[in-house]
Symmetry: C2
Subunit: 244 residues, 2 copies
């Protein structure tokens, strides 16, 4: 048996947002590797072994997946959203970099619906013009770099998607991020808090930078910040295609 | 019959990248509206009327779709990729803004796999850290704004996805964009040219800023520019999660 490793994105939560390509890979897998809650989204079946792990052990999980594929298993590594956006794909290549004996392995990445696109669709089209995606977690980069990128993104007048805005271990940083935005943007700037989109816990709230409070975000929220042109129409929020 | 309008993303090309949610909306539609080549991707069936139009008539197409939904039709507007990323969703809300009589209509957006995520997955994980998406077309914004955003994105050390890099009517601007990047980035900066990903015409090429030539891109290409940390491992390109 020739093993392979495929990193897949399960989208934001609903089964109807999983691509057929990903479903086919899952149907062919012998082993499922990932963070517990993501592995739990895939139904059990005979012939499929589950390897669920804790958060923050991405590299260890990636090495385990590579080793299993090298041993002939058909391994699917599951991510929420898209595997290439603040998720498992980079960890897999990092592990591969440290394991030259695995460089000939069949490693593939299958895209998924990332949180910002699901959130934007629910809100309207707030990312309808140039935009950026910034991970607010400083687990793997200095906080000063986060602030610097926020300032430059505001200067470029990008719409922004802010991933991992706030967690129990980082309760205060999102407030600092809002402060940086307040220095650079008008108080009327629109902000969308999109939580657990497409799941039973979905909640979406549009407010302004003036009214935004850190408590509006938690670890299941993606925050969309409009550009200077983003506006409301009816219950929707959108950024026009035209910027003049 | 209660009409509705749903804007859907068909992904980059392959049917296996269309979400089940979008397939369900297509199955319920009475009318299909969009740019000819995208409408042509959906099989004909009894009860489905096709309204294919030229490129660059987005607003007119959007108004037509709203009017049909208001008249009780079940209208699906098709975009390539994700409808909220340089596609039809913003045009729909722009048309809605000018038509207050339609504000109570049931208008929804269903996300899709946008070109940059399909391209990134094929290449490895070049967007695995903070990144931005910039539309290089100056049809709806001044070219000076494109250059300014490229400079600020380089200063922020974002990875970048460049949409619509080059077309018959804009043959020279992508070369100017590369010049802007050359002023700001090291010549060894990795660049991925991803053309028509997931179709029969798929072609992917990784090179450096030094070796990049405007002719490597056309209107079916999305260009991914790495951050300063983006590197190769085996035949893959990835951006590490850690930035220190």
């Amino acid at each position: 048996m020739t093993g392979w490793l495929t990193v897949v994105g399960l989208g934001p939560g609903a089964a109807s947002l999983i691509t057929p390509e990903v479903s086919m890979a899952l149907a062919e897998a012998t082993d499922l590797v990932g963070y517990g809650p993501y592995v739990a989204r895939i139904p059990s079946r005979v012939g499929l072994t589950r390897h669920a792990s804790d958060n923050r052990v991405e590299l260890q999980r990636a090495r385990q997946a590579l080793d299993m594929a090298a041993a002939g298993r058909r391994v699917v590594v599951v991510s929420s959203g898209d595997p290439g956006v603040f998720a498992m794909a980079s960890a897999i290549f990092e592990a591969l970099e440290g394991a030259p004996q695995h460089h000939a392995l069949n490693v593939r990445v299958l895209p998924g619906i990332t949180a910002m696109l699901a959130a934007a669709a629910r809100a309207g089209a707030p990312l309808g013009h140039d935009f950026c995606a910034i991970n607010l977690s400083d687990n793997l980069k200095p906080w000063s770099l986060v602030e610097r990128r926020l300032r430059l993104a505001a200067e470029a007048d990008f719409a922004m998607a802010l991933y991992n805005p706030r967690s129990a271990s980082r309760p205060d940083q999102f407030g600092r991020a809002l402060d940086v935005l307040r220095e650079a943007c008008d108080p009327s700037r629109l902000i969308v808090f999109a939580r657990a989109i497409s799941t039973a816990d979905e909640r979406i709230e549009t407010t302004t930078l003036l009214e935004a409070r850190p408590e509006m975000a938690d670890m299941r929220t993606v925050v969309l910040v409009g550009s200077s042109l983003t506006r409301r129409v009816g219950r929707h929020v959108y950024t026009p295609r035209r910027a003049v």
